[in-house]
Symmetry: C2
DNA sequence: GAATTATTTTACGTTTTTTGTTAAATATTA
DNA sequence: TAATATTTAACAAAAAACGTAAAATAATTC
């Protein structure tokens, strides 16, 4: 059931939500990803999001409600986006680039810390998330294996190593530090990351365009 | 003032401490780095370190005492080690490899999260740490700039980008996931990381030994 | 510009978490 | 066997986080 143009792919974030509620969700996402669910307090979310506690409790019953809301949106959007990229008419490199350029590199949607912190939360949520994560990892593994067979990737790396690096660098690509560094020049950002992923510090071969 | 053989360089960890005290320090380090100082509780340190609370309070007055102890050792050892590598008779690549192979990649001694979490702690500690961090970053920047001039590094990358990637990948090199992945095959680990840093997924040129 | 709605500030009582200590039981080491 | 180290369990005290209320400001809408 393929196809759509790759540049068409975009992950909408929570930007469609009314400001304050969106601020809360975006901030919670950031904090959850970095520190896990439990370590983050609602007071902290409020502080970081520039939202007062009253406003918070106007939109959400408690921290857990934010988690549910966040997970639901992210999973839905993430799955759609990933499938589109997967089925797109494009080379491996183009697809990887699309995933990086995308806010939240699709495949590493949830940080290890976050996943771990959910150990004793709602069963249904965890299951859903695990299924999604597994599916993503599986697909990514396939990407890398194919590319290795085709000789596009150095065959000595273990697939697990590549998978891990991809996760780490992917997560980093949307970190605050990087964002500040590149402003909104997402093109340059994803270019640099792609070059680095493919060619390391040595940089791309010189016989370019 | 230079010189010593590079392979001579090793960062002793807290291994010289009697078991339980060492366990506490090592565990605290890991947790502090990942989550910052404030978010970590002494009960958590105890749990992770397999040490009872009474034993903890036998060796340390409180969490802050652990922090001080940890910082002091790390800074001292880190500075010595870094200086040795810096002054060693070796190529840039060899030096970088040495830093990665070293437990704790010297330059990115302290995680951003940890540093940030110290915002409202003891002045003296913070100053010390900042001086050390700045020094390290400065030196690393010099490394990269030199290498770029010499053509060893793709000149299109900004030094800030390289510095950041180095920090991220360096931090990752000692993450749990990676450790589990490589067991204790530190040679293969640092080899893979070096290859990746220098040549990306494409891997090293084929005219090898 | 008046009325409505959204948001913040402050304050507070309640609940939960974390702290640090005690005493007794169990391992470990010399 | 004696001395030392460590753990378990229980606990009071302190600190942190929760969730709500009332009144004051800000922003929006009509």
């Amino acid at each position: 059931m393929p196809h759509r143009i790759l540049s068409d792919v975009k992950l909408p974030d929570f930007k469609d939500r009314p400001t304050k509620e969106g601020d809360i969700l975006r901030t919670a996402e950031k904090l959850f990803m970095q520190f896990g669910y439990k370590r983050v307090t609602v007071e902290e979310i409020c502080r970081e999001a520039n939202v007062s506690k009253v406003t918070f409790y106007k939109y959400f019953n408690n921290k857990y409600a934010v988690l549910e809301d966040y997970m639901q949106s992210r999973l839905k959007l993430g799955m759609e986006t990933f499938e589109r990229i997967r089925n797109a008419d494009a080379t491996l490199q183009e697809k990887m680039q699309a995933m990086i350029a995308m806010k939240g590199s699709a495949i590493s949607q949830f940080s290890p810390v976050f996943i771990h912190s959910l150990a004793d939360s709602d069963e249904a949520l965890i299951d859903l998330m695990n299924r999604w994560t597994d599916m993503g990892m599986q697909a990514m593994r396939q990407f890398f294996m194919d590319a290795q067979v085709k000789g596009e990737i150095y065959p000595e790396y273990s697939v697990d190593f590549l998978l891990h690096i991809w996760t780490v660098v992917g997560n980093d690509a949307r970190s605050e530090v990087i964002m500040k560094m590149y402003g909104d020049d997402m093109v340059k950002l994803s270019q640099d990351f792609m070059n680095f992923l493919f060619y390391g510090t040595t940089g791309p071969p010189q016989e370019d365009k």
